[in-house]
């Protein structure tokens, strides 16, 4: 099964949201809220759209609001990918 890692998220986030001017994405950012990383709601929507596109998963509207941190997105996407395999 293809896995979605924190590094994958950072790569997509850099491309979709631009380099943060608040904090470096190099460190352990998994549990820092996107807002505190310098990314607003549009950046999170853009991230979700690109993840959907690249990993062929669907992120429901409500889920976008319920994914406040990089770790939450990684867990969510991997759960969807596992479902897709087991189906």
């Amino acid at each position: 099964m293809r896995e979605f890692t924190l590094d994958d998220l950072k790569r997509i986030l850099r491309a979709s949201g631009g380099e943060s001017d608040v904090t470096s994405l190099e460190g352990d950012i998994a549990d820092i809220a996107f807002g505190d990383l310098g990314y607003d709601s549009l950046a999170v929507l853009e991230l979700a759209g690109r993840v959907e596109d690249e990993y062929a998963v669907v992120v429901p509207d409500a889920a976008v609001q319920e994914l406040p941190t990089p770790a939450a997105v990684v867990d969510f996407v991997n759960a969807r990918l596992r479902e897709a395999v087991s189906r």
């Binding site: 607003d40 709601s41 549009l42 929507l45 759209g49 509207d61 976008v64």
Partner: protein, 423 residues
């Protein structure tokens, strides 16, 4: 009294739900809605498939085949409404000095529909980034520059004075009317055709709002999808249309015995400098705009008898402006009827601000306040009198209308019956 204060002497409207000003008035006072499943293109695969569309027959409304071929839908809507406004004003175009006639037209997205349609052809449905110029239509550049919309209205009305297109997103309509009023006050023109148009019901516009989840996904119940101030609202419903006014200086309008709908006594715009789409819940900058508009009108909260809300039906907007009304008008905000006609005619981006001002001028003239349709379950955080479901008769001498748009723009305008004007 300011002799060159701008007054409204003619109104034209092309809105969803009917053709012309009177059909528009009938719809927005009936509480019926013009929102439906999108028919202008096949919306399969889109998140939001609901819109308020105009049943618009350009040929039946007097546009020639050549004009229809040349003009984007937004231009067609604008020209038809401008002609209705001029006709309503009683001015005889052939007797006007074209040098003293101006145009101030608003539009948020210009000629998007034709731009997209042509792109689809030239790129072979998006297959080629390097689009093929050999298949381009002669008017493609006209569609690329939104100023073409103002040009079409200027040509239709014989305007050779100051002509401009104002494009401040969803405040464009109000800002264009405000701009037109300034041109009158400054004396650069004696007649200004002011208004706005947008025809955004095309795949790219629907998709761009899908992407930020701003529009209602209530596809199973399109007639009830636009639900401003209702607890169960889930986004705005895209609309289309145009409205135009004839503006003249008060002294000239009186001299020729024109029917005067209302005077534009106050207008202000402010920016929130916060976020391109986000709104802070305190409504601070909109309140600031309202305060300035009232100040310019030399009016107080007591002089406002009806508020035409932006009322888009997004969670953040409805709370934002409710806070702005309370902040700027104090306790008086609870006594004034507030309604959103977007519940019935949708949100036509830059054009709706002008369409709403048309409703406001007619409210003053006719003593009926349109309702907010689909408001069955009030949101406890939106706790003003939103005139749910049915229109209300009441004497209205002063109206506040507001607009709020992407880019952070917040605008407010005061229209007053001539007898109520101070200063």
């Amino acid at each position: 009294m300011s002799p060159r204060r701008a007054v409204i002497t003619g109104i034209g409207v092309m809105a969803p739900g009917g053709t012309g000003r009177e059909a528009f008035w009938d719809l927005v006072t009936s509480g019926k809605t013009a929102t439906r499943t999108i028919s202008l293109f096949d919306p399969t695969g889109f998140r939001s498939r609901v819109a308020a569309e105009c049943d618009f027959d350009a040929a039946a409304l007097g546009l020639t085949p050549r004009e229809i071929r040349r003009m984007d839908r937004a231009a067609q809507l604008a020209v038809v409404s401008a002609r209705e406004a001029v006709s309503d004003s009683g001015l005889e175009p052939e007797r006007l000095n074209p040098h003293r006639v101006g145009v101030a037209l608003g539009s948020a997205v210009g000629c998007t529909m034709r731009l997209e349609q042509e792109y689809v052809v030239l790129s072979d449905h998006g297959r080629h980034w390097d689009v093929d110029h050999a298949y381009a239509v002669p008017h493609l550049y006209d569609y690329m520059v939104p100023s073409t919309l103002a040009r079409e209205v200027a040509w239709a009305c014989g305007a050779e004075g100051p002509v401009a297109l104002i494009s401040t997103g969803c405040t464009s309509g109000m800002d264009a009317v405000g701009h037109g009023a300034r041109i009158i006050e400054e004396g650069a023109a004696d007649v200004v055709v002011a208004g706005a148009t947008d025809a955004p019901i095309s795949p790219i516009s629907v998709a761009c709002f899908d992407a930020i989840k701003a529009t209602s996904p209530n596809n199973d119940d399109p007639e009830h999808a636009s639900r401003p101030f209702d607890l169960n609202r889930d986004g705005f419903v895209l609309g289309e249309g145009a409205a135009a006014f004839v503006l003249e200086p008060e002294d000239e309008a009186r001299r020729r015995g024109a029917h005067i709908y209302a005077a534009i006594t106050g207008y202000a715009t402010r920016s929130n400098a916060f976020h391109m789409t986000g709104l802070k819940p305190d409504g601070r900058e909109m309140a600031e705009a309202i305060g300035h508009a009232l100040h310019e009108a030399q009016a107080s909260a007591e002089d406002v008898h009806y508020i035409n809300a932006h009322g888009s039906g997004t969670k953040q907007n409805d709370r934002h402006e409710t806070a702005a009304f309370k902040r700027s008008l104090g306790d008086r905000a609870r006594e004034i009827p507030v309604s959103s006609i977007k519940s019935m005619v949708g949100h036509s981006l830059g054009s709706i601000g002008a369409i709403e001002l048309a409703a406001c001028a007619l409210v003053i003239n006719r003593g009926v306040v349109p309702p907010t349709a689909n408001l069955h379950t009030p949101d406890p955080e939106c706790d003003l009198d939103y005139v749910p479901l049915t229109a209300r008769e009441c004497r209205v001498a002063g109206v506040l209308s507001v607009a709020s748009g992407f880019g952070g723009f917040q605008s407010a305008m005061i229209l007053q019956e001539l007898g109520a004007v101070r200063g």
